[in-house]
Amino acid sequence: MDYAAAIFTNAAIYIIATMGLAIFTGYTGLFSLGHAAFMAVGAYAAAICTHFLKLPLAVGLVVGIILAVLSSLIIGYPTLRARLRSDYFAIATLGFGEAVKVLLENFQLTQGSRGLPGIQKLSTPLLTGLFMILSVWLARNFLRSNYGRKIIAIGQDHVAAEMMGINLFRVQLRSLFFSAVLAGVAGGLFAHYLGFIQPSLFTGSQSSMLVIAVVTGGMGSITGPILAALLFATIPEALRLANMWRMVTYGAVLVAIMVLRPQGILGYREITFASLARFGRRLFGLPPSPGGESRKAVS
């Protein structure tokens, strides 16, 4: 596929994974530094299904989702049950991510460090674009649902939420599952975009990149992380920045965001057409809404 289409596909995959993390971290406030592990599980499952078992991609993705959710259960259940404080939880997920990578390097089924080459390139821009839209729709609906409201409540003030009767553990676990689903899908699509996968592709660095996108985009928002993910996936390519300088910038951006603007770009807000319209109006000095009074008019 040509260069621009490849960038788009890569960006779409990255956006799906980021959204998954955003649902979890952005709302529960629990940072997962091992999300690349879920992507890895999804990627390997889907690849093994299509490459060795010759099953269609859809089946591979479903198997990937199931396995990703199961792995999230393995790490999520004990850590969430134990009510770990947020930085310990982050470290536990970091450890989990590393452990998964080591296991992948050692198993015969996953062909160890050699990984799986020769995967069919089934991830077209159209397919990944569709999945991306589907994920946004799912995320939005998840947030509007009962579960979603509970998650937002927890994100705002988890003590108050608990006092209102929300079962912290169950809600957190469910949102972790949801994020694992999206990460697993992203992983499966990634495997069929790149054409080969190896454990070295799913490092702690990758997990950190997802976290950086969520934090930069803003916690408590969906469009924020999507915007951040889009920027991270496209701008460096356009500038032909070497990978190392990209990471230097991301690290610096993360520090800058935490120190200067912890709510990220959007933080708790979303980009909607209404807000875009308002923004555009203000840019041109027009009243913020049709028929309304301009701010400047108020003395």
């Binding site: 470290i91 536990a92 120190v259």
Partner: protein, 295 residues
């Protein structure tokens, strides 16, 4: 078997030295300073710069310069990445994330500028092995062990006998109270990071001599961090014991075989598995204190 134990202790002593840096910062500021790994790496590079690349200083001056340099870097790190958050009383998670950002930035900065070429620091002892019967012990290991022990003893002295040390110990119990009592927190934290940075720099130099100098040396510090958790974050003796214990465990796992299959490559699963298990079951480790997350 005994040789394996000695190897384990040797690896563990490196972990222990690094773990002390983590625990020191944690004891006062209550967060996990993930940027410590970068400070350690930079310490090694400073030593390389003055020993090999630009000057040709002998070992001890280079070590001291590296320690001073890392101390300063750690201080700057605190100023840029943590002080605002600390004043804003941000949750410890945010400090940790900021630390992560610093670590990613610095490590890749090293890759991008100095490049990923591998460097070795000149050996300190020409005839390094010392044979005791069937066992072999490295002289460098003994030297590093002794030097670290002396430094940590000095640190202990500072903590117990000087006013600064007492202030630090008080701050580790209750930072606000210390501020109310008139201690300048900014100065205190600055001194804290200078000390932690110097310790990290020392660890980096020893690692550079024992192994080599390259940008992702910081990865090893993840293991040191596990050692600190095992011993109990916030406790200095705990950090040392935890580090040594982890080194021993890793060495023993490396030589174990189950059903003919060596476990050496699964070693990290063990290490990280222990980390996760400990965090769940006993996050205070062996000697740590329980500190609730502030609401």
């Amino acid at each position: 078997m005994l040789q394996t134990i000695i190897t384990g202790l040797s690896i563990g002593s490196v972990y222990a030295l690094m773990a002390v840096g983590y625990s020191l910062v944690f004891s006062v500021l209550n967060f996990s300073n993930f940027a410590h790994g970068s400070i350690i790496t930079l310490g090694a590079y400073i030593a390389w710069a003055v020993m090999v690349q630009y000057l040709h200083l002998p070992f001890l001056p280079a070590l001291l310069i590296a320690m001073a340099g890392s101390g300063v870097l750690a201080f700057l790190n605190e100023r840029i990445a943590y002080s605002t958050l600390r004043r804003r009383r941000a949750p410890s998670l945010y400090l940790m994330i900021s630390a992560m950002g610093v670590s990613i930035c610095l490590q890749n900065l090293l890759y991008a500028t100095v490049g990923a070429k591998l460097y070795a620091l000149p050996a300190v002892f020409v005839e390094d092995s010392w044979n005791v019967g069937e066992l072999t012990i490295s002289r460098m290991d003994l030297f590093a062990f002794a030097f670290s022990a002396v430094t940590i003893a000095l640190l202990n002295l500072v903590l117990r006998r000087t006013r600064v040390g007492t202030a630090i110990r008080a701050a580790s119990h209750d930072m606000d109270m210390v501020a109310v009592l008139g201690v300048n927190l900014d100065v205190l934290v600055a001194i804290l990071f200078l000390i932690a940075g110097a310790l990290g720099g020392m660890a980096g130099v020893f690692m550079g001599v024992k192994y080599m100098v390259y940008p992702s040396m910081g990865w090893i510090t993840n293991k040191a961090y596990i050692g600190a958790v095992i011993g109990g974050l916030g406790s200095l003796p705990g950090a040392i014991i935890g580090g040594l214990f982890l080194g021993l465990l890793e060495a023993l796992v490396s030589v174990t075989e189950i059903g003919g299959q060596s476990l050496s490559t699964y070693r990290d699963v063990f290490s990280f598995g222990i980390l996760v298990a400990l965090l769940i079951v006993r996050p205070t480790g062996l000697f740590g204190r329980r500190v609730e997350e502030k609401l």
